[in-house]
């Protein structure tokens, strides 16, 4: 549990600084420090436990199904990081208190630092690959927020995004690699996986797994060719750089190499890839560092270089190299953190980091200079400092590599060369800044020593460099031992942490490096000139940026090309897909079924031909719109005839009445729609339309043909049999509608109701120009309501209502029903509107349409719900026969009440739509813009 606490403590503590910032910067810092200190102490306790041989661990199931559990374990390697991360963190927090200006949001910085600390601890402590990945990605994300801390600066935003993208991409690769690893091992538990090294190395998926994991590690640790994000990340405030790029973020990559060392290492592929990349990075970073003019840039490249060194060490694939690697992790953390802080102090006090302007600061800030010199010397590998020790071990290990065969000399030579570069840039850091004449137009002059407490972290770190450098075995011995053991997973071969191993080749290499380094530095002006003249190596960051921009441009082009806002294109795509899926399965000889065909008779043939002709006429006339409407209504009429021809009188009734309402709607709309002739611009478009139409038509026709020529065994016999005994009606279609499938009908009236409400909303405040004359420029007829028409409709209305009642009442047993009755009523009422005008009609009687609709649907629903009271399912119908004197026996069915609901809704809906549409022209009209 304590392990979990170790991760949770900073995470929860992260809320403290933002909350306490209102009490002042000091309180905020104290809060952050307290949290960190507690974490550090806890880590120390756990470390001691681990030293005593009982490493703490915990295991909580989370997503156990796929093996993702909350498993944490404090082994040696984890302990190393568990100490480093809060340790350096504590110093960074103190330092940041003085580094940040008044207007920087310190609460956010400290909070984010703590979150970051928590994620980093999580990475170190995870005993589950996926869990580790979770923390891994959180470090990417929190580093994104940290790097972008100065959000107003474009370089900060860009650097942050670049870091996020590169490390995020690496994280995704890592995820894939982890998943593969998990699939190979059958578990995501790291401690279990570590035991399966041989099995995994022999597995066919080893190569992709290794590559993916290495991509993850290399992006995080800024290895070539993914190194470019790190210098850009220097836009962050220096405390953040000091933290992220010395001890934590970038170390996550090498941590991963160390963590999976027992599983993945030990193959040629590992050796060549890891050491190759490490070596390249080592040299490239060191070389580039020399030529940086920005203090932090120099440090950034040196960081890259040192990370390359560590990676190279792990790549060398010997236990002692691994020890050296672990050792260098510690050392690099200490000296690099202090160097960043020193650079920050200089920046803070002088206002610049440009080494061409910073000169001779020794005079102004000797204390800082002394500290920086210690740290820089450690970086250069000067004896008596910790850097020397690990570098010595590194040189020694390069001599023992046998895989290269006759070319074995290359590696030591390259290592020495890197050493030379390291000395050169360290020398430059010191000499250029503190000596080398006088400062040149510094933004802040004269500089002086920073506040006392700002130097304390640097002093502690520099002290550590010295202490470890002089007394390595006493100070870091046990930690290193423990950590390195858990890296290699086996007992380490004997090694000694001592300053003096006698005169040997590594010492010689060190001396060469020192001497060479100073020599290179001495020649720096000539080298700078030479470097300037070198053909510019492609700048990876610029390339990355260009690639990103290109990708976005490409995406925009794609997006723009995809969607031009055209309805037609989307419709064509949908219809095209439909045509394909209909035609492709049917394009075989087996489309005709076995059923014998029914004979064609003359009138039917004629009707069919007329129907087809009317359809084509609609297309032909679509520019002459009124004619097209007429052709359409012929289609409707003939479709109704088809329904009658094939025994569906109910359908014919519905079709006819819906038809006329549709026509009215279209006419109402047509009044407003301007008429223009515009030939279709592209013949290709028309060709496409014709092909598509033919395709869809052919597809549907084939489907219909295939269907009609095959026998059907349907469930309808049940309805035929049950209609009278179960539904109390002889008209099976109506009984299906109100009883067997009454739920569909309820849905259908709901659709109508919603449509009406929506239409009402659309008509609200709709302003359309009212044409003063018809399409040929003729003014409209003067007489709005022809006498003969209005007189006739007065007579027709009662008749129509009678018919409507008739259709309603008999619907259950013969063609008819609530829907058709509703339509007839509505149409008859609309006829009044047409013949007498909206104003007159509404003066006579104003129907409340909205409530009518609501009541209609509610009546239908309530009829259905009434059966719930009796304990039957919704919409269970009941019916009975009632006898009255004179009248005789007649049937009453609950379904009729349901039908009444339908009736009311339909009347309400149609009236609402048509009457309100008709009212459009009565509004006060403003001339609208019509193109």
């Amino acid at each position: 549990m304590n392990v979990l606490l170790l991760v949770l403590l900073p995470l929860l503590g992260a809320m403290l600084p933002p909350l306490t910032i209102r009490f002042g910067r000091d309180v905020c810092t104290w809060a952050a420090m307290a949290v960190t200190a507690c974490t550090l102490m806890l880590a120390a306790v756990l470390f001691i436990q681990a030293l005593e041989g009982s490493p703490a661990s915990m295991h909580l199931p989370w997503l156990h199904g796929i093996g993702l559990d909350l498993s944490l374990r404090m082994d040696g390697l984890a302990a190393l990081f568990a100490l480093l991360v809060p340790g350096i963190g504590l110093l960074v927090i103190i330092y940041a208190r003085y580094y940040l200006s008044e207007k920087d949001p310190m609460g956010r910085l400290h909070g984010l630092l703590l979150v970051f600390m928590s994620s980093m601890l999580g990475v170190a402590l995870s005993d589950n690959l996926i869990l580790m990945l979770i923390f891994w990605e959180s470090t990417s994300l929190s580093s994104f927020l940290l790097i972008g801390f100065w959000q107003h600066r474009a370089d900060a935003r860009q650097g942050a995004r670049m870091a996020l993208i590169v490390t995020g991409a690496g994280g995704l690769a890592l995820l894939a690699g982890f998943l593969l690893l998990g699939q190979m091992a059958g578990t995501f538990r790291i401690s279990e996986i570590l035991a399966q090294g041989d099995h995994i190395r022999a597995h066919s998926l080893y190569v992709p797994t290794l590559m993916l994991i290495l991509i993850g590690a290399f992006t995080k640790s800024a290895q070539f060719p993914f190194h470019f994000w790190l210098p850009k990340a220097m836009a962050a405030p220096t405390p953040i750089s000091a933290y992220l790029h010395s001890a934590t973020m970038v170390k996550a990559g090498v941590f991963l190499l160390a963590r999976l060392y027992p599983v993945l290492s030990g193959t040629d592929l590992w050796f060549f890839t890891v050491s190759g990349v490490g070596l390249t990075t080592l040299l490239m970073g060191a070389y580039a560092a020399i030529f940086q003019h920005d203090l932090k840039g120099l440090l950034a490249y040196s960081t890259i270089s040192h990370l390359g060194l560590i990676v190279l060490l792990f790549g060398l694939d010997t236990p002692l190299a691994a020890v050296a690697g672990v050792f260098h992790i510690i050392n690099h953390a200490t000296f690099k953190a202090s160097l960043f802080m020193a650079a920050g102090i200089i920046d803070h006090e002088t206002g610049t980091r440009d080494m061409r302007r910073l000169n001779g600061l020794w005079k102004y800030m000797p204390h800082t200079a002394a500290l920086a010199m210690i740290a820089a010397a450690a970086m250069a590998g000067v004896p008596l400092l910790n850097g020397f020790l690990s570098k010595e071990m590194f040189f020694a290990e390069t001599l023992h590599v046998h895989l290269l065969g006759p070319a074995w000399m290359l590696l030591p030579a390259a290592a020495t060369l890197a050493g030379i570069f390291a000395v050169a840039y360290s020398a430059r850091f010191i000499h250029d800044v503190f000596f080398n004449g006088a400062p040149r137009d510094l933004p802040r002059f004269p500089p002086h020593e920073p506040p006392r407490f700002m130097k304390i972290p640097v002093e502690i770190l520099a002290g550590a460099c010295l202490l470890v450098g002089i007394l390595p075995a006493l100070t870091v011995g046990p930690l290193l031992d423990l950590a390195a053991t858990s890296v290699t997973g086996e007992t380490l071969p004997p090694y000694s942490l001592a300053i003096w191993h006698g005169f040997n080749t590594p010492l010689l290499m060190s001396l060469v490096a020192l001497g060479g380094g100073f020599a290179v530095y001495a020649m720096r002006r000539r080298l700078f000139a030479l470097h300037e003249r070198l053909p510019l190596a492609p700048d990876a960051a610029a390339l990355f940026h260009a690639a990103e921009e290109a990708l976005i441009r490409c995406a925009r082009a794609f997006l723009h090309g995809l969607d031009n806002g055209s309805l037609q294109r989307s419709a064509a795509l949908l219809l095209g897909v439909a045509a394909l899926v209909m035609i492709l399965p049917l394009a075989g000889p087996a489309i005709s079924g076995p059923l014998p065909l029914t004979p064609i008779d003359g009138p039917s043939l004629m009707g069919a031909l007329l129907l087809i002709a009317a359809g084509l006429l609609t297309v032909l006339w679509h520019e002459h719109r009124l004619s097209a409407i007429m052709a359409l209504s012929v289609v409707g009429l003939l479709v109704a005839l088809v329904f009658v021809r094939f025994s569906a009188p109910d359908l014919a009734l519905t079709q006819l009445s819906v038809e006329v309402v549709t026509i009215m709607l279209l006419l109402l709309a047509l009044f407003f729609i301007p008429r223009r002739h515009k030939p279709r611009s592209r013949p290709s478009g028309r060709f496409r339309d014709i092909v598509l139409s033919t395709g869809i038509g052919a597809g549907c026709g084939l489907l219909a043909w295939g269907m009609l020529t095959r026998p059907l065994d349907s469930i309808s016999t049940f309805f035929m049999e049950q209609s009278i005994p179960g539904g109390g009606g002889a008209n099976v279609v109506n009984v299906i509608l109100v009883d067997f499938r009454g739920f569909d009908t309820l849905g259908e009236v709901t659709v109508l109701a919603v449509a009406a409400v929506g239409i009402f909303a659309m008509l609200d405040n709709l302003r359309l120009p009212i044409p003063a004359h018809d399409q040929d420029g003729r003014p409209w007829a003067a007489e709005p309501h022809p006498l003969i028409l209005s007189q006739t409709t007065r007579f027709l209305l009662p008749l129509a209502l009678l018919v409507s009642v008739f259709l309603f009442l008999r619907g259950h047993n013969a063609p008819g029903g609530g829907f058709i009755a509703g339509l007839v009523t509505a149409v008859a009422l609309i006829l009044q509107y047409m013949a007498n005008g909206t104003a007159w009609t509404q003066r006579q009687w104003r129907l409340p349409f909205h409530p009518l609709i609501a009541v209609g649907v509610l009546v239908a629903a309530a009829t259905g719900a009434a059966s719930l009271l009796a304990g039957h399912p919704f919409l269970t119908s009941t019916f009975g026969h009632v006898s009255l004197p004179i009248v005789g026996k007649f049937e009453l069915a609950s379904a009729m009440l349901f039908d009444l609901g339908v009736f009311l809704t339909v009347v309400g809906v149609i009236m609402l739509i048509l009457a309100n549409l008709g009212k459009l022209t009565r509004r006060k009209i403003r001339p609208a813009r019509i193109r």
Binding site: R778, A781, P786, I788, L789, T792, F795, L796, L799
Partner: protein, 103 residues
């Protein structure tokens, strides 16, 4: 047998008149003359067939089946209005000069 003959007669009359009305519609030279065919001949044609139907179903079910008359009533009530409105629209479309004798 007699009833069947009667029904057949009415059917033929009805069919013939309906056809004649439509021939008129197709054949006559201008709208106003065409108007005469459908308003009268077709209406009567439908009437004939409706009477046939009345006879047929009354004979079938041995009870008076008169509801087809209703359709006739409807047609008589509406056909003139339709004709009137169509004529009126044609007059309107012809222009403001008002009705002229057609030539």
């Amino acid at each position: 047998m007699l009833s069947e003959a009667l029904i057949s007669l009415f059917l033929l009359i009805g069919g013939a008149f309906a056809l004649i009305g439509s021939i008129g519609l197709a054949r006559l030279p201008d709208l106003f003359t065409r108007l005469h065919g459908p308003t009268k001949a077709t209406t009567l044609g439908v009437g004939g067939i409706l009477i046939a139907s009345v006879l047929h179903f009354s004979g079938q079910e041995h009870a008076l089946s008169l509801h087809e008359l209703l359709i006739t009533l409807f047609l008589f009530a509406t056909a003139p209005v339709s004709a009137y409105l169509i004529a009126r629209s044609a007059l309107h479309l012809r222009g403001p000069d008002g009705p002229k004798d057609d030539s």
